[in-house]
């Protein structure tokens, strides 16, 4: 029974996913069915289950650990899923996305994300990674007639499989080191040889690092990101830019701060370079983009750099900073993609920068919300992004990573420049030609409003979430 308890959130979402699949199967051809609603029920159930499991530290089958850390990420991922479903309900039909498959895949990939955050065995992490990734590959190309989507999906799939192979290789070497794929066994084995780690340990660590770096889109493993983000349907981009990143960062944190903890002095040096490079490439290349989805793809690369900075400075503060950052990045980013999805029409759905011309005059509220999300991503008070960035940099300074913090703050100034380009288009463009924005319903409006409220709430009263994040990391590392 204890075993089932630990996987309860995943179980609930899985059931919801199966229900959506059945619903689609029994749907008459022209019948309209609120399939997304089933997903909402499942995700809310998962959040409730996570709440009940809080502080219980349940263990399932020896490989799933429902500690507060994984529950925190579970809730973040479920919230991302909820926002995605709310936004999707407005655009799925217009974009010509088959809704049954769409919701099913979204929910399954949420299950994968949850599992990734809670697995304590490298093989289970790999399985979770694949559950999540394969669903996302398909979601990227779910508009079969859309050439860009198909191309993006294929690229993502190829590079993704490549990185999975790296990851798997890393697991193999880990097994060679410790005779087990369990993180605790690996940790013991590495701790014993920490004074003089053999080449096997380095290979295991390096290959796993590549696998994770790919999934969080850290430079130089970021190449897939702009193409996949641009080609995927916008709601899917919002989902994968936040959910996949959250899950990958969670697993990254767990593996490197438990199993490879004894070697921290070594991998932080490497990771510091990767993090700085990621911040610089993400922001500098982002400046040159003319497509908003691509721009936000580079922005998400830069944000991966900030998250890595938190992992590097992983004192108690650093770890909770990562969790707080994940949450505040998620609400702002998913909201921004929601707006992009809403202003698209069937013909004009690529998210070009010029599509935003004069949005403030056509749809003032949408423009204001978009500005809120973008300014939060850029790190302006009183939005969540400001506190999140400050918290990460404070952790870095606290641990003595001054260069990292300085590169971080300077690149975040650069990133402000491209967020402002969108703001300029929306608010300051003199071309006031009435922008045609398709109508959207109450669910989407509610979703955007909730995302905006969360953005302000976390920016003005961050203490509660910071406390939760601190509690959730204190239980495991």
């Amino acid at each position: 029974m204890d075993n089932l308890q630990a996987i309860m959130p995943m179980l609930i979402v899985t059931l919801a996913a199966m229900a959506t699949m059945l619903a689609e199967a029994f749907r008459r051809k022209d019948e309209r069915m609120p399939i997304g609603g089933l997903g909402v029920i499942g995700l809310v159930g998962a959040i409730a289950a996570a709440g009940l499991l809080w502080d219980r530290n349940a263990v399932g089958f020896g490989v799933i650990q429902a500690d507060n850390f994984s529950l925190f990420v579970t809730v973040v991922v479920a919230v991302i899923g909820l926002f995605t479903i709310m936004f999707s309900s407005e655009v799925v039909e217009r974009e010509g996305i088959p809704s049954g498959e769409y919701y099913t895949l979204t929910l399954f990939s949420v299950v994968g994300m949850m599992m990734m955050a809670s697995a304590t065995d490298l093989l289970v992490i790999f399985i979770a990674l694949e559950i999540m990734s394969i669903a996302v590959y398909v979601l990227t190309g779910i508009k079969r007639t859309d050439a860009a989507g198909t191309e993006a999906s294929f690229k993502y799939f190829l590079l993704g499989s490549f990185s999975s192979a790296f990851f798997l290789y890393g697991i193999a070497f880990s097994y060679a080191v410790s005779g087990s794929t369990r993180l605790d066994a690996l940790s013991t084995a590495i701790a014993q040889s920490a004074s003089a780690p053999g080449p096997m340990v380095w290979l295991a660590m390096g290959l796993l690092l590549v696998g994770f770096a790919f999934k969080v889109s850290a430079v130089p493993f970021h190449m897939w990101t702009p193409d996949a983000y641009e080609g995927a349907p916008t709601v899917v981009t919002g989902f994968m830019s936040t959910g996949v990143k959250a899950a990958a960062v969670a697993a990254f944190l767990r593996v490197f701060l438990s199993a490879f903890e004894p070697l921290r002095g070594d991998w932080t040096q490497l990771l510091t370079w990767i993090a700085m490079l990621t911040m610089v490439v993400g922001t500098v290349v982002g400046v040159a983009q003319t497509n908003v989805k691509r721009m936000l793809a580079y922005s998400s690369i830069a944000h991966a750099g900030y998250l890595l900075a938190g992992i590097i400075a992983a004192s108690a503060i650093g770890k909770s900073a990562v969790l707080f950052y994940l949450a505040s990045y998620a609400v702002a980013n998913v909201g921004a993609f929601g707006v992009i999805a809403f202003i698209a029409t069937r013909e004009r759905n690529t998210g070009e920068l010029t599509d935003f011309t004069g949005l403030w005059y056509a749809k003032p509220m949408l423009a204001v919300l978009m500005a809120v999300f973008l300014l939060s991503l850029g790190g302006f008070p009183p939005m969540a992004g400001f506190i999140a960035k400050w918290y990460i940099f404070a952790a870095a300074v606290n641990e003595g990573f001054y260069t990292l913090a300085i590169v971080g703050v300077l690149t975040s100034v650069v990133s402000v420049f491209f967020y402002l380009r969108i703001v300029v288009m929306m608010f300051m463009s003199s071309n006031k030609a009435e922008l045609e924005v398709p109508p959207f319903g109450i669910v989407g409006t509610l979703g955007l409003a909730l995302a905006a409220i969360a953005t302000f709430y976390l920016g003005i009263l961050p203490t509660r979430l910071i406390d939760l994040a601190t509690q959730s990391i204190s239980t495991i590392f």
Binding site: G265, T268, F386, I387, W390, F427, M428
Partner: protein, 518 residues
């Protein structure tokens, strides 16, 4: 009663109220204008109430409120004011309704949003002047940027987008390094006492190793110097001023530039007295260059607004010079000059705005002989101009005189600083009076100027308080100097704290990246 918090957040509450009024077609513009003006007048009344309740001989910081905000890092919502911040808050409260009223004629699109941004801006500015928690200060400091960015970018003139982005990026690039320095201070505090602290007064007492103090001072000084702006970091200012709508220029010149000098005075100098003393001559050199350079460039401007903008560079140079003198007179003069500049330059921007509303140009050559066409406006123009060039009997004189006296007697600065700076006084008379003469005297050469209407009642209400204040501040400077005196003296004392730098400080070595694995 939380009077100070109330003064800070009342404008934002008002802005939220305005946001609820539906006004898609602009039919309620009039109502919104009146409401916004009313809210800002109430806010002004609150700032006056602060003044009334302020005890000159009382505690260093008054109206103190503190509650825990983010407990991991011991960040507090900690506010309180001394005489200098009080005066700057009153100045903010004074200029906001005036700029709102001045915009009634010129801002016609998106009036609601304009008013909202102005009110939010007021909250952030008052917050900057009252924060005693360094992190809270940074939050308000950063929060100022967004409304100003929109004010310039949406309601500005032709090159507004370029100007607004330049303004924002310049300021931000300077201030993010300050953020790192702020965090470092809190971390040092933790290493020395065991708990993080962003409390300004506790950080004053911190023993900072000389090298670290030097770097942190530079980070703070860079942020504030860009805001002031100090030569050669001033290039954003002419663009921002010229492209901003009148209200934006008034607030920018009147209040926001003072955030830089206030920051130097409250944070950069007293937090790092040794480093500041060492760097003071260098900063003063830049200030003096700014005084002369700003004046010379102002002289050749064909555009009135640009002329006034460059005159700000020159005038703010005086303020920084006064601060760098580190004498009571110098700092007092600097503090007074901050207020004066707010009044006189604010007034000049208002007048230029009125002329530009009438003629849709700001080129000096387009005007001439206005004295016979609109005598009332020209009379106000004259008084403000004289106040700007420090004519005795008007406000500017008191401030500049104190600054020059203070810097002459300074132990840190050589007398030659004062000598060169004094030439700036003469130069300012040259460029201001020359401009005034070309615009207002002589024959009306341009037929378009013949029928310009004189001040309307609304404009009269805008200018009268400014002119009156310029006179009052010139004749009775003690009303304003007195509340600031204790604060100024404390600041100078803090600077003289200078303990022996050779003293060995018990403190963990700064950890090097990567070796700190725990």
């Amino acid at each position: 009663m939380a009077l100070l918090s109330f003064s800070i957040f009342l404008p934002t509450l008002g802005a939220l109220l305005l946001a609820l009024i539906p006004n898609r077609d602009g039919s309620r513009d009039g109502l919104i204008r009146q409401l916004a003006l009313g809210i800002s007048l109430v806010a002004f009344a609150l700032t006056l109430a602060l003044w009334a309740g302020f005890d000159v001989n009382g505690a260093e910081f008054q109206f103190v409120e503190r509650t825990m905000w983010i407990d991991v890092f011991n960040v507090e919502y900690y506010i309180g004011i001394d005489g200098v911040s009080l005066m700057l808050i009153v100045l903010t409260g004074f200029l906001t309704p005036i700029s709102l009223l001045a915009s009634w004629g010129s801002v016609t699109k998106k009036v609601k949003e304009f008013s909202i941004f102005m009110l939010v801006l007021e909250t952030a500015m008052i917050g900057v002047f009252s924060a005693l928690d360094v992190f809270l200060f940074y939050v308000f400091w950063d929060a100022v940027l967004i409304p100003m960015y929109f004010l310039i970018g949406v309601w500005g003139y032709d090159r507004r987008i370029y100007a607004s982005i330049k303004f924002l990026l310049f300021t931000m690039a300077g201030s993010v390094l300050m953020l790192v320095a702020i965090i470092l201070l809190a971390v040092l505090h933790q290493q020395q006492t065991g708990s993080y602290s962003f409390d300004l007064l506790e950080l004053y007492a911190l023993q900072i190793p000389a090298g670290t103090a030097n770097l942190c001072f530079l980070a703070f000084a860079l942020a504030f110097s860009i805001k002031v702006p100090l030569f050669p970091l001033h290039t954003w200012l002419p663009d921002a001023h010229v492209e901003a709508p009148t209200a934006g220029s008034v607030i920018l010149a009147g209040v926001m530039l003072k955030m830089g000098t206030y920051g130097l005075m409250r944070f950069a100098f007293p937090l790092f007295p040794e480093a500041a003393t060492a760097w003071a001559p260098f900063i003063a050199t830049l200030a003096v260059i700014g005084i002369v350079y700003g004046a010379l460039v102002a002289m050749v401007q064909p555009d009135m607004k640009k002329l006034v903008a460059y005159s700000s560079v020159s005038h703010l140079g005086f303020v920084v010079l006064g601060l760098c003198a580190l004498t009571v007179n110098g700092v007092q003069g600097a503090a007074y000059q901050m207020l004066n500049h707010g009044i006189s330059t604010g007034g000049l921007f208002l007048i230029v705005g009125m002329l530009s509303d009438r003629r849709h140009t700001r080129l000096i050559a387009e005007f001439g002989g206005l004295k016979s066409v609109m005598p009332k406006l020209v009379a106000a123009f004259l008084i403000i101009t004289l106040s700007s060039i420090a004519m005795p009997g008007l406000n500017g004189f008191v401030g500049e005189f104190l600054i020059l006296m203070g810097s002459w007697r300074s132990e840190v600065l050589l007398p030659r600083f004062t000598v060169v700076a004094a030439s700036g006084v003469i130069l300012s008379a040259v460029y201001m009076l020359w401009m005034f003469q070309r615009v207002n005297y002589g024959e009306v050469t341009n037929p378009k100027n013949e029928t310009l209407p004189d001040l309307s009642v609304r404009e009269w209400c805008v200018l009268a308080p400014v002119v009156a204040l310029a006179v009052v501040m010139g004749v009775f400077p003690n009303i304003f100097l007195q509340p600031m005196a204790p604060a100024v003296e404390r600041m100078v004392q803090r600077m003289e704290r200078r303990p022996a730098i050779t003293q060995v400080i018990p403190q963990a070595e700064a950890p090097v990246a990567g070796t700190q694995a725990r």
